[in-house]
Symmetry: C2
Subunit: 437 residues, 2 copies
């Protein structure tokens, strides 16, 4: 009892400062609960304005990473710089200096996780990354520990809080995409440059990591079909709502006979779907295991304090040695497992929401349904709004289950019809995944 | 790599047999993921009829526990006998023989957890009990690992699947309590003797364990105010529903200025409360931490296969050594922490649903509201159904926040009024817990 464990945080932004504050304020509690004294040794950055704003003590500030890495009393580096360049160098240097690393950097791990994990092993240290996926929700631990007894069958996540906040504002308050994005930025939920959030890539980064651990395979980021919420129209959000669906940016990975199906896309969920109620900045991940059935994990997917919660839990687990045991023993990490066999996304089976804009020409509806019928696609609902002469009239169709490829071909054929405008929309509908119990 | 870890299961009922089946069918997967060969060495019972039905191999059957405990290749005993007597003896013998123990026995741990944990430490082994609370949901791990960085502020659980199934049938299908209970039994969701499920004691057992780990204190089972669903009337379930509330059996533990408030009672949750949608046999636990805010864990709270998922995850964690590290190092276990300072439940502050049956006498409504006003209790809603001469007429009141003690006194005064029948109902209304972030 009473061992000391030294920590340096590199990057004094929102997460770095919140982590420092949590380590400092709860130090006695952690000691009482674990017998380990977590000691914050240094805050490393080149600018300490935000750290000063957060009222962190000047004596911790250090511009010299090398000196921190040489300090034998520092056992672990928390990287909260973000991005793919400097952060990568920092982590590599830390690992080579024999320091454990804890990071929230999903982009970096999605791109270079396998290399970094291997480098950590070579130096007999470990990398904690609970904070990289879904903020404070302990989903990584659930996959590598609590659900380890399962062969997982599917994982569905709402893992980008910014997108979910924007969609919730559109669904519940009828805001346009642009209005909702502006509000997200005003409330500090979206970055000044929100590209990675709204184009789906942030969710794809997380899906690469979560899918890899859930299925024990390595998943190349580039192989995931990704679509963001940035092209969405309020009309479809509202129309889907009227039909009993909620639009969410869903990250999906599931086993099929033809391999692992993966996707990040805006999808419609039926009102009573377990993920349909996950609103605003919250995240949730549903996992379907062969033994446990459906389990779901819900919480704040971003923000300084929730992310710091995950960072510090990693620090504690590494200090205790439990994370290090999992990291060094298990074979489900991306650097230790085979590449996933991914299913051809054209073969995936889903229901669909389709919206076409037609010129008010009698006969075109019959043509549209004929094209769908030809591909064996049967209709579930059909809505034609009142038409005003000369204007484009929306037609909304929901289908029964169909192959993506067939939908895609029918969609393109319909958009090519002379009376159909080329602005058209196609969104998957995801029913609740069946439990195999 | 390649170490072998021997397991014996004592008790060939639903959970024991499902655990055996999972260990046998997934053995290769576990070896691939962990490098450890989990080997099922014996099934111990005095009757193997159900094990034979489950098509488990006769060669594993063993009536002689002593011989299993003497077997040096058996490292861990899974106890799935249940109850407070034989199970206790089995676990004590196993621990004294230097075997780790994994159990789903919440009743036993709620009563004798501290003694058994201490005995395990004395013999340098550990006890895994993920399966004891909320079936397959990895909530114990969340509390002792994923959320370890937090000082928790509150925990709310729907942790008895039988009660939740019965209430869901009453709410959604208008069944009476007796009808719903009968269905639960027919579907194998309720025991032949469902007493502990429907009288709230099973949920109290789990709350003792979960609360203890969430707050790092030991909680005497007898100190928890417990009320079951067995006295509920369909009228109140439906009336609450009309007012926008869902009735759930809630297990609650939360910090207040006056100590830890704990209770297991049927409570009304507003429709949009995060736990309101937890239906049928599902369980969920909401935890509010000072750093992470609200996180929720959802899944099947009972059943052979989901419980076996938790049992085998414990077996894997003990075989890997991670659970043993947490068990031996942390100080939040009931045998290592101080007794909780519990708040006087009379001081707890809640909103209430009140229902009185009155004889159709003008003036009694004024008397009722006067009694409430005298205690400083203000009304939120008031519903009086049409009266038919000579019959008892229900009056339903929802209140704003009030002290339990004041509500109780007002309630008793009202029931004592000459025009009020002594059959009356008082149910807490629980709004969503605020996050302190």
């Amino acid at each position: 009892m009473g061992s000391s464990f030294g920590i340096a945080i590199v990057g004094c932004g929102t997460v770095g400062n919140a982590t420092a504050a949590l380590l400092l304020s709860e130090s006695d509690n952690f000691y009482r609960k674990t017998g380990i004294k977590l000691t914050l040794k240094a805050l490393v950055d080149i600018n300490f304005d935000r750290a000063r704003e957060a009222e962190l003590n000047d004596s911790l500030f250090n511009e010299n990473l090398a000196s921190v890495l040489e300090d034998g009393t520092v056992h672990l580096i928390v990287e909260t710089v973000g991005g793919l360049t400097i952060a990568r160098t920092i982590i590599e240097k830390a690992l080579k200096s024999g320091k454990h690393v804890v990071t929230a950097n999903k982009a970096l791990l999605a791109h270079y996780g396998a290399e970094l994990f291997a480098l950590a092993r070579k130096n007999s240290v470990s990398i904690g990354f609970e904070a990289s996926c879904a903020g404070g929700i302990p989903i990584i631990r659930a996959l590598v520990d609590g659900l380890l007894s399962n062969s997982n069958e599917a994982l569905y996540g709402i893992v980008n809080g910014t997108s979910n906040f924007i969609l919730t504002e559109m669904v519940e308050k009828g805001k346009t995409y642009a209005e909702a994005l502006k509000l997200a930025q005003a409330e500090g939920l979206a970055e000044a440059d929100p590209t990675l959030d709204v184009n789906g890539m942030d969710a794809a980064h997380k899906l690469t990591l979560l899918g890899s651990l859930a299925f024990g395979v390595s998943i190349p980021l580039d192989d995931i079909p990704v679509e963001g919420i940035d092209g969405l129209d309020l009309f479809d959000v509202s129309m889907g709502n009227d039909l009993g669906y909620v639009l969410k940016l869903v990250a999906l990975a599931r086993k099929t006979e033809k391999g692992l199906e993966m996707a990040v896309k805006p999808m419609f969920l039926p009102d009573d779907h377990p993920l349909a109620r996950v609103s605003g900045p919250f995240n949730a991940i549903s996992v379907y295991g062969n033994a446990v059935g459906h389990t779901m994990y819900y919480g704040r997917g971003a923000g300084g304090s929730p992310t710091a919660s995950a960072v510090v839990s990693d620090v504690l687990s590494i200090a205790l040695g439990t994370w290090s045991t999992l990291f060094s023993t298990l074979t489900i990490w991306p650097d230790r497992c085979e590449k996933a066999r991914l299913a051809d996304s054209g073969e995936s089976i889903h229901r669909y929401y389709l919206r076409f804009m037609i010129r008010d020409v009698s006969g075109v509806v019959a043509k549209i349904t004929a094209v769908l019928a030809e591909k064996g696609i049967s209709l579930n609902a059909f809505v034609q709004k009142e038409s005003h002469e000369g204007k484009l009239v929306p037609i909304v169709i929901t289908t029964h289950e169909a192959r993506e490829k067939d939908i895609s071909e029918a969609f393109n054929t319909i958009v090519g019809l002379p009376s159909v405008d080329n602005k058209a929309v196609r969104i998957r509908i995801i029913d609740e995944h069946p439990e195999s119990l």
